[in-house]
Symmetry: C2
Subunit: 343 residues, 2 copies
């Protein structure tokens, strides 16, 4: 008899533990996004343009947050969120991707799961409507982490991922940016508002237009996603930091999820995303202290312009950038906030 | 008069300081190499094969060490060293690169300068005789860090880097490895001696045949280089850890230089090379403790087979691997040592 009571008690305890582990905790659910950093100042902005960016950033936040509130995973949320930005011509990713020197749109993307440290990445693809979805397929449906070029496109096609004609990525404004810079014969990153021209919602070249999202779901799991069209007038199959795990994209439940936007070459050399995670893991820095150390000190000394979004497992997040502005936002407890400038 | 004496004294002191800074210190000059890790056991080895590997590893060490002793930089040394291995059919890099699923040889390489944190990387190139030389050109002659595919080849050609017909990379043994594994319809990494066949010096497929070098020069500067043909039967433009800065290749005078060889997907996800550097920088681990922590603990728990070579600024180095064997060697104070097995 006493044996049975013990058995019952053991069963009850096991169930309780198991329930506690799997019980979703919606209180910490958080989603943070960026839509690129650079010379984004009030002087270079029109009210119409600002409104368009604010609305699209808010839409991206609401779409991803809805996923999280319905019990979706952080992976589902970051994918859904950046797809909204990929489908918008406002950002240098997907539909709004900038042009290479040869007049093509070559895109890169990466996604990482903080729970399993699984990751997927694609680079130099020209026909995949949503590069982030292809990156996720690489992570979940292949034994590889990174696929590039025609091979990556073949794989995406086999996974029934939407393929479009390269002309889908043609936008007049991005094409004009290429023509302008070709005269100068140098590469340029997205979001360079330095010209001060604001005759059109898109006319100024903008620097570092990469977009990204990091999320914490109700199960306590982190994820990160980044997607980009790279640099206007890029050549020689240049790849930036976005698809490089540890540089532009990283997620680990033991530290944080990071997505970066900036001068990719510097971000690769500084292994930015993993460095933030390492400072948290090995020096017990908070996510804010770690992200600021890397973006506001190390990258500044190094000459690397840009910013990151970083999120820890308790829903604490940081959005530091050392450029004039960064399209960014966060949503937590149902409250969305969207920012563009420094102040 | 007294003013002049002070001036003279100041000049003398400045010269002395400047001399002390630039005076080469040959006592710590060190070069460490690997030629791939995997199921390399005495049972799978013939005396002829072992001799061939030992001789080529020793040659690679001597070539790079001669560069260092003549006052060459660590960058010069690692490039010269891995070129010896790229030019040999023994290793899965350059001439001995394995075949992709489509019967091509697609190579990746990266190099990093520990003094400046500058880096260069190429992926999926099929016509560059020495991929490591192209990676160095990306670092030194472009504003980019990573170039891939046809674009990278175009850049290499412009830099007068030797271009060869893809047939140069054809070796009968590697082609037979592809045919064997195609029957099994799965990818396989180089150096898989599991079959136990040893009828020919190259007949067993071998796992993880990536080659690499790390060096410390007389000026106290570190450098790392890695070059590979990737996985036999790889497809979809798969890229491994070798060309990923922070994963397969990393160098920072403030911590260490690392080159990795192993199951690339795990090495990317674990950001292996930068993690070793971070443990040294943030937890004050020795290079030995840091490299062993990552390779013998983290990667083992994670399921990632392979090894690394790691070298610090004092000439301390470590060559841990969690596979059966790893072709490896080091040279210091004129004394070269070459190893293959665990014992």
């Amino acid at each position: 008899m006493r044996k049975n009571v013990y058995l019952l008690l053991a069963c009850f305890l096991l169930s309780a533990v198991s329930f506690a582990q799997t019980k979703p905790d919606y209180s910490k659910v958080t989603l943070v996004i960026h839509g690129g950093a650079g010379t984004i100042t009030r002087q270079n902005m029109t009210p119409e343009k600002e409104k368009a960016y604010r609305e699209k950033l808010n839409e991206a936040l609401q779409v991803g947050y809805a996923v999280l509130k319905k019990g979706g995973t952080s992976l589902d949320a970051v994918e859904a969120t950046v797809k909204v930005m990929e489908d918008s011509p406002l950002f240098n990713a997907g539909k709004g991707a900038v042009f290479t020197s040869e007049g093509k749109n070559e895109m890169d993307a990466a996604i990482m799961d903080g729970k399993t440290l699984k990751a997927g990445s694609i680079a130099s693809v020209t026909t995949i409507k949503n590069p982030i979805t292809a990156a996720r397929a690489v992570m979940e449906k292949s034994e590889h982490v990174m696929m590039i070029g025609a091979g990556a496109e073949k794989f995406a096609q086999m996974q029934q991922i939407e393929i479009v004609d390269p002309s889908y990525f043609y936008t007049e404004t991005r094409y004009q940016q290429l023509q302008k810079i070709k005269d100068k014969e140098k590469t340029q990153l997205d979001h360079d508002g330095g010209t001060g021209s604001n005759e059109n919602i898109f006319t100024e070249g903008n620097k570092f237009g990469t977009v990204g999202a990091v999320a914490l779901d109700a199960y306590g799991n982190l994820a990160a996603a980044t997607t980009t069209g790279g640099m206007t007038n890029k050549r020689y199959g240049r790849v930036g930091d976005a698809p490089i795990i540890g540089a532009g994209t990283y997620a680990d439940n033991a530290s944080c999820a990071v997505s970066a936007t900036g001068h990719g070459e510097y971000f690769i050399r500084a292994v930015v995303a993993h460095d933030i995670a390492a400072l948290m893991k090995y020096k017990n820095y908070s996510v804010k202290k770690a992200a600021e150390e890397v973006v506001m000190k190390k990258l500044v000394e190094f000459g690397g312009e840009g910013g990151v979004i970083a999120l820890d497992r308790n829903g604490n997040f940081s959005m530091p950038f050392n450029s004039a502005g960064m399209y960014r936002g966060a949503i937590k407890n149902g409250k969305a906030e969207v920012y563009i400038y420094k102040d």
